[in-house]
């Protein structure tokens, strides 16, 4: 930090010239007061959606995967689309908390807590699908290697699905740990504010005896740094491995070496869009406009437009590769994607992911929070369709024309997708009620550095 160049160009990270105590009061305010009507309305809606999803999953468990619209050619559709979509959403959290931390991007402090929580919930949503999509979910644990008495029968370490199981469980564990470790100082703050009681005892337990001493801070910073270091490769590895689910196959449209960077860029893209969506809503609802400022939104918009460009480049590259390869099956797969029966999905994807985000080049648009929200929502739609396009359009018209089919989701599939959103928002709303949405300790640290910089210049 010592050699950081003090500059006037850098605007304050938070507005309102807050004192440290005021930060604590502002951030903890939603925790202290009773939930209002908007929260209850949102919670009931999300919880109902979750209930719909649970009914759908329960019905599917009892009846069979046949209640989905998949068929003998299209073996995966909504299930794996949702899985990859949610895993992608989860990427922004780790990116913000780990990579931006290592890159000393201090603006991250206002959003990292929520983004990490979002990551956890998204990974939870994602984790449902690999389990429920299998034909016999009650033996889905066979995907994990564990000591057994079946003649020591191991899993197939060559299968990308086995790598998936490792990648996702690792990612979830590291993300959860990282999030929790970052939460400890704030939990201690809450503990100190609470009157004795059950809640105080619970929070006290989870704050692990934090005493705020220099030594504690030192250990904490070290652990946090190490976890950030551990988390960073995961941002790249998880979606790389998810992309291998497709890239290692022989199917035209799946079998592509560009998939790992393409998927990672797409994941960050969709994750950023989701963070934007959630931040824009919660800063309004929770009255945190001073902490999540329009400058934060502006920075995230820039990340969105950068990753949108990467995704667009990948789309173009895929077509170039298909054309250049001279492989008729490959060429057909991409022509079919763009002009076949699912062309509407393809062009939805291109519009939402490449064309519409271009408006973010304009500062005026980035400053209009409502416009940014619309763009972010559309990006989420587009990224869901990207996975749908990759999975369904490649499968429905494969090598043998005799096996070409169509695909249409059933009510059960749609209900399961709705249910995953229900789970996500239910979890996020609970998070808003019980855990500080903004990492207070980090914001305070950033404020201190801020003041120091500015005072240094004026002195």
């Amino acid at each position: 930090m010592a050699e950081a160049m003090p500059t006037r160009m850098r605007l304050p990270l938070i507005d309102g010239d807050k004192s440290l105590a005021q930060v604590t009061r502002d951030v903890c305010a939603p925790l202290d007061r009773r939930a209002g009507f908007p929260w209850w309305a949102a919670f009931l809606l999300s919880f109902s959606a979750l209930g719909v999803g649970l009914v759908a999953i329960g019905y599917q468990m009892v009846t069979g995967v046949g209640v989905w619209g998949e068929n003998n050619s299209v073996g995966w559709a909504f299930d794996i689309t949702n899985f990859v979509f949610w895993i992608g959403i989860g990427h922004a959290g780790t990116l913000i908390s780990a990579i931006l931390f290592l890159l000393r991007q201090r603006w991250r402090t206002s959003v990292n807590r929520a983004a990490e929580a979002m990551t956890l919930f998204a990974v939870m949503c994602a984790g449902i699908f690999p389990i429920i999509h299998v034909g016999r979910p009650w033996v889905a644990y066979w995907l994990l290697p564990y000591p057994n008495f079946r003649g020591s029968l191991w899993i197939n370490f060559r299968s990308p699905l086995a790598w998936d199981a490792f990648a996702i469980s690792t990612y979830f564990v590291i993300s959860a740990t990282f999030w929790y470790v970052g939460l400890i100082p704030d939990l201690a703050t809450i503990r100190d504010r609470l009157a004795p009681g059950l809640r105080q005892r619970i929070v006290s337990f989870f704050s692990l005896g934090w005493d705020g001493s220099g030594r504690t801070w030192h250990r904490y910073e070290l652990v946090y740094l190490l976890l950030a270091g551990l988390g960073t490769p995961l941002v790249l590895s998880v979606h790389t491995i998810v992309s291998w689910d497709f890239a290692t196959s022989v199917l035209p449209g799946w079998h592509a070496t560009i998939f790992p960077p393409y998927f990672v860029a797409g994941a960050i893209f969709s994750g950023m869009a989701m963070v934007l969506t959630l931040m824009i809503i919660s800063r309004a609802v929770l009255d945190l406009r001073d902490y999540i400022t329009s400058r934060h939104i502006d920075v995230m918009c820039k990340l969105v437009i950068a990753t949108s460009g990467m995704v667009g480049l990948a789309y173009i590259t895929e077509f170039f590769t298909a054309a250049y390869s001279g492989n008729t099956y490959e060429q057909f797969a991409f022509l079919n994607r763009a002009f076949g029966p699912f062309a509407w999905a393809y062009w939805t994807m291109v519009s939402c992911n490449v064309l519409i985000p271009q408006v973010l080049w304009f500062r005026a648009v980035r400053r209009r929070v409502s416009a940014v929200l619309v763009v972010a929502l559309l990006v989420n739609v587009g990224m869901w369709f990207e996975r749908f396009v990759i999975i369904v359009t490649s499968l429905h018209r494969g090598f043998l024309p005799a096996s070409w089919t169509g695909y249409a989701p059933t009510i059960v599939e749609v209900a399961t997708l709705v249910g995953s959103f229900g789970l996500f928002f239910t979890a996020f709303l609970l998070f808003c009620r019980f855990i500080p949405v903004i990492a207070m300790a980090e914001v305070k640290g950033a404020m201190a550095a801020d003041r120091h910089e500015r005072s240094g210049v004026s002195a």
């Binding site: 046949g66 899993i155 022989v250 057909f332 494969g398 005799a402 169509g406």
Partner: protein
């Protein structure tokens, strides 16, 4: 004194019974100890289990393959018999296991079927286990006993004998000497009695035409293997026409042969048939144009007139192959059939490709006799009508009138329209429960023997008739007597009847001298006028599907689920129309259209069929029967599932109302049809081209769609082409599956394959493949492990159809194996790609990654429909549960069987010891299976054929299935080569 042992309480409590089983075990001291008790308990349980597992062996049956010393539970035995699926009389071997027949195969040395068996014949095995069968005789709709029924029948027949009135026995073709004898003896006891035969797929006009041209009402045997030039006119001879297996075998024999002149086949047809798809030249013509064409060909050939156009070309071809050609027509029009006979006569085909000296008995039906019967019934001259192996109320136009007969007796196995109206139902045995015989072609006598005890209180048709004729005898005695008196004297090879009987029973058939003599050509037959063409009239063509040839099979879900070889549609009949007509009337597939012939109308879903003539609407017969109402509950039910039956509660609709009767003969074409859209739609379930997805022209140019999946080779290039596929040298991976012992492989000859789909049913029964139901097929979840991919192509010779049997290719570098996370699909040491059902969790990644899409997923619990039909399940193959992937195993249970047997005998597995179910059933013998590591095996030799290729070779997955290219003979090229030669 030795103690007395018992197996059950009944036995213990019974006083000493000398004849009881030898249960005395010597040298046991008196007084039962605990050990004794346990020993006895174990013995009695085992005894009860053993005796209840298998029904007692049939007393008079002699096994065909090997005679076992005793019944070995779990060991299959094979019996030779004759197929009862249709009147073709193919030879069968029935696999019997623990007292129940579980599989039907072709009898390899049968003179007609030559080892093949069609889909219908195999599926007919399900008739034994059909839960809807009559279990007891019925008197006025109420279950009764045979004693009551017999008493009732005797008194009614006595009344008729006294009071007069006609008695008719109405059957489909009967070529069983015993049944004919029994019918004759029965009719002899009555004053005004006659036997009337008719066929649902009528050939009456052919027989009548021979009466005109040759003086005998007979159906000549068609010998397709002898024909160098075949011209078919709307005769689906590779489909359900007369004798599909026999004709396919003969036809394919010429296509498989490596040397000699290639046979050339032209098909003139209005709709698109299996046979037309296979033709070298396919001429699409409306029925009236075809009539005129045959007239012109006859004119050219008989009168030496110079011809032009199609007629001239066909005549030129036929004349170049005098005595080695064959013209066949499927028409029900007498004039047309007479012209065909005259052409064949002029070409000298009688005696070479047409055998009238030893005629076929496969069609004996006389439509005019049926018309007279209907008239007699209307005139109330008939007092009693006995109907066996026919359902005239359903499949005869105007057959409703038969319900007015004072005494209607049905011998139906299961409820149908006729038995519903019958006063007495005397349920017949299924063909697998009864003694019987047949002489399908003069001189080919064969026996039918029971392979299971009758499951219900049914009685053989001939037993019932003998009972009422006053000379009751068991069917076995009746058949034996007939053979002793009429068949045995017609041969001289075996002097002793018992030996002759035993040998015939073991082989299933015997060659005897033919009883008939050839009729002489009557040259003075006048040639009728050239039939006029009606340029704008739309014709209705009624046909029979190869997969569901007749209404009598409509109880059979195996056949309903079998995709039609041409349209690939299951569980429906439909109005098939050509693309031009569809465009003109703005009809698309699935639109419900009303077909109106003026007098009759019917609503059916439309199907747009490329290649069909634009003045033709084609509708399959045999649908919409009462027997199909049972399918209301078939399939898996969940809240978005749709029923398999249509709005009428049945499968399809009955189009028999359109059958035209002219001069007593049933005709299957009608002209002047109007076609109107009703505005409603009906979802057709198709295993290919699901929904309305079509390949946009810019994505796949015509013909490009099938390249290079189905490959063909010009006949002229056969000699000069490169031999066989060379193993691709490039290989990224080490050869870690050396397969040093056996390496199983398959070769499929696409040129021989007609698409008849017998293999599909063979595979389904052998491997316990579930029936998914229409809704699941509509969702593209058909379960067939082996499917026939159908591709159309078009060139100067018309539209061709290629059928490609597609099954698990057992790739050496199988893409499915690497991606399965649980190691549920693996490679065996013998090159098999194995699926381990109980390790499979159902991720479906293997299915996605299979380039051939041959894997099948159990989306639901398919096989839990309780019923006697389950008795057909093969105990050697696991029944798969929900959520598990399955696929072709190369019949691994048969491979294991052959290996165990070879080990038992201490010999290596020989080439040909293992036959897969699909290979065995194939009438065209297009499939070869065996050990690729043995360079002399038939499969290895066939794989090196210059026509060999593997599908998607560029992927380097190294499939174990090699396909042989289709040979294309362009009409022009052959004409040139003939000039050269």
């Amino acid at each position: 004194m030795p103690s007395r042992y018992w197996k059950s309480l009944n036995e213990r409590d019974r006083p000493h019974d000398r004849e009881d089983h030898a249960t005395r075990l010597d040298a046991e001291p008196d007084g039962a100890s605990r050990r004794d008790f346990l020993r006895l308990a174990g013995f009695s349980v085992a005894g009860v289990v053993a005796s209840s597992c298998s029904r007692a062996p049939i007393r008079h049956a002699i096994p065909y393959v090997a005679q076992p010393d005793g019944v070995v539970p779990g060991r299959a035995r094979w019996y030779a018999t004759t197929c009862g699926g249709c009147a073709a009389g193919c030879g069968l071997r029935v696999k019997e296991r623990d007292g129940r027949p579980i599989k039907v195969e072709g009898c390899p040395d049968h003179p007609l079927s030559a080892g093949g068996v069609c889909a219908v014949g195999q599926a007919a095995l399900l008739s034994v286990y059909d839960r809807a069968r009559f279990r007891a005789p019925q008197l006025r709709g109420v279950a009764s006993t045979w004693a009551v029924v017999d008493a009732d029948m005797r008194s009614r027949l006595d009344t008729i004998r006294r009071g007069g009135g006609g008695v008719r026995v109405l059957t489909s073709t009967v070529h069983s000497p015993s049944a004919r004898g029994a019918i004759g003896r029965f009719l002899d006891t009555l004053p005004d009695a006659a036997h009337v035969e008719y066929d649902e797929i009528s050939a009456s006009a052919i027989l009548d035409a021979h009466l005109v041209t040759h003086g005998v009402r007979a159906l000549p045997r068609h010998l397709f293997e002898r024909a160098d030039v075949i011209v078919g006119v709307d005769a689906d001879f590779l489909g359900p026409w007369i004798s599909p297996v026999e004709f396919t075998a003969g036809y394919a024999r010429r296509r498989r042969q490596a040397s000699g002149p290639l046979a050339w086949h032209a098909q003139v047809e209005s709709r698109v048939s299996l046979t037309g798809g296979k033709a070298d030249l396919r001429i699409s013509m409306a029925p009236d144009e075809a009539d005129a064409l045959v007239f012109d060909v006859a004119d050219i050939i008989e009168n030496g007139r110079a011809g032009s156009g199609a007629a001239g070309m066909l005549a030129e071809r036929l004349l170049a192959a005098r005595g080695r050609s064959l013209v066949v027509a499927g028409s029900g029009d007498l004039a047309m059939q007479i012209r065909c006979n005259r052409i064949n006569q002029a070409l000298g085909n009688y005696g070479s490709t047409l055998d009238l000296g030893r005629p076929s008995q496969q069609r004996r039906g006389d439509d005019r006799a049926v018309a007279r019967l209907l008239q007699d019934v209307r005139d109330q001259r008939i007092a009693a009508l006995l109907v066996s192996r026919a359902n005239p109320v359903f499949d005869l136009p105007g057959g409703d009138v038969l319900t007015t007969v004072p005494l209607l007796v049905s011998f139906a196995e299961r409820p149908d329209e006729t038995s519903a109206a019958a006063h007495v139902v005397c349920p017949d045995h299924s063909a697998f429960e009864a003694w019987g015989d047949s002489e399908a072609v003069a001189g080919v006598a064969s026996l039918t023997q029971p392979t299971v005890r009758p499951l219900g209180h049914t009685r053989a048709f001939i037993e019932s008739l003998s009972m009422w004729a006053g000379a009751p005898a068991p069917a076995y005695e009746l058949v034996r007597r007939t053979w002793r008196e009429t068949i045995f004297p017609r041969q001289t090879a075996v002097p002793d009847f018992d030996r002759f009987w035993d040998a015939t029973l073991e082989a299933g058939h015997a060659a005897v001298s033919a009883a008939t003599t050839a009729g002489a050509f009557v040259p003075a037959t006048p040639n009728s006028n050239r039939p006029p063409a009606v340029p704008d009239a739309v014709h209705l063509v009624l046909y029979h599907k190869p997969a569901m040839p007749a209404g009598e099979h409509s109880y059979n879900p195996l056949l309903h689920e079998l995709p039609d070889p041409v349209t690939k549609i299951v569980w429906d009949n439909y109005a098939s129309i050509g693309p031009g007509l569809a465009a003109a009337r703005q009809i698309t597939t699935g639109d419900v259209v009303r077909i109106d012939t003026g007098g009759q109308s019917l609503e059916l879903p439309a199907l747009v069929q490329p290649g069909q003539h634009d003045r033709v609407v084609a509708v399959a017969l045999g649908y919409g029967g009462a027997m199909t109402e049972r399918f209301k509950t078939i399939g898996h039910h969940w809240f978005q599932s749709r029923p398999t039956v249509g709005e009428n509660g049945r499968i399809g609709a009955n189009a028999v109302r359109f059958v035209r009767v002219d001069d007593g003969r049933r005709g299957t074409t009608a002209s002047g049809v109007t076609l109107t859209r009703t505005g409603r739609t009906h979802a057709l379930a198709c295993t290919q081209d699901h929904h309305t997805l079509t390949v946009p022209a810019r994505l796949a140019p015509a013909g490009g769609e099938r390249w290079p999946i189905v490959q063909d080779i010009a006949a002229s290039d056969l000699a000069s082409s490169e031999p066989g596929p060379v193993e691709s040298p490039a290989n990224l991976w080490p050869e870690d599956h050396p397969a040093t012992g056996h390496r199983w492989g398959m070769v499929i000859d696409l040129h021989a394959c007609t698409g008849c789909s017998a293999c599909v049913v063979g595979c389904q029964i052998e491997n316990n493949v579930p029936i998914a139901g229409k809704d699941e097929v509509r969702r593209n979840r058909e379960m067939h492990w082996l499917r026939l991919d159908r591709y159309f192509s078009e060139d100067a010779d018309g539209q061709h159809m290629a059928s490609q049997p597609m099954l698990c290719q057992h790739c050496a570098h199988a893409p499915c194996e690497t991606v399965c996370p649980t190691l549920a699909t693996l490679h065996s040491e013998e090159g098999l790609n194995q699926q381990v059902y109980n390790r499979c969790v159902g991720t479906r990644y293997c299915m996605n990654n299979c380039p051939y899409k041959t894997r099948r997923f159990n989306w639901f619990e398919y096989s839990r429909d309780p019923g006697t039909e389950h008795l057909i399940l093969n105990p050697d193959v696991a029944v798969r549960s929900r959520g598990v992937m399955e696929k072709c195993t190369f019949c691994v249970q048969r491979i294991q069987d052959a290996k165990i047997e070879a080990r038992r005998l201490g010999v290596p597995v020989k080439d040909g010891d293992v036959q897969t179910a699909c290979q065995q059933s194939c009438p065209a013998q297009a499939i070869t299976f065996g050990d690729m590591n043995d360079p002399t095996s038939r499969v290895a030799v066939a794989a090196r054929d210059r026509r060999g290729y593997t599908v998607l070779e560029a992927l380097n997955v190294r499939p174990s299935v090699t396909y042989l290219k289709v040979v294309r003979q362009s009409s022009v090229a052959v004409a040139e080569s003939e000039h050269d030669g």
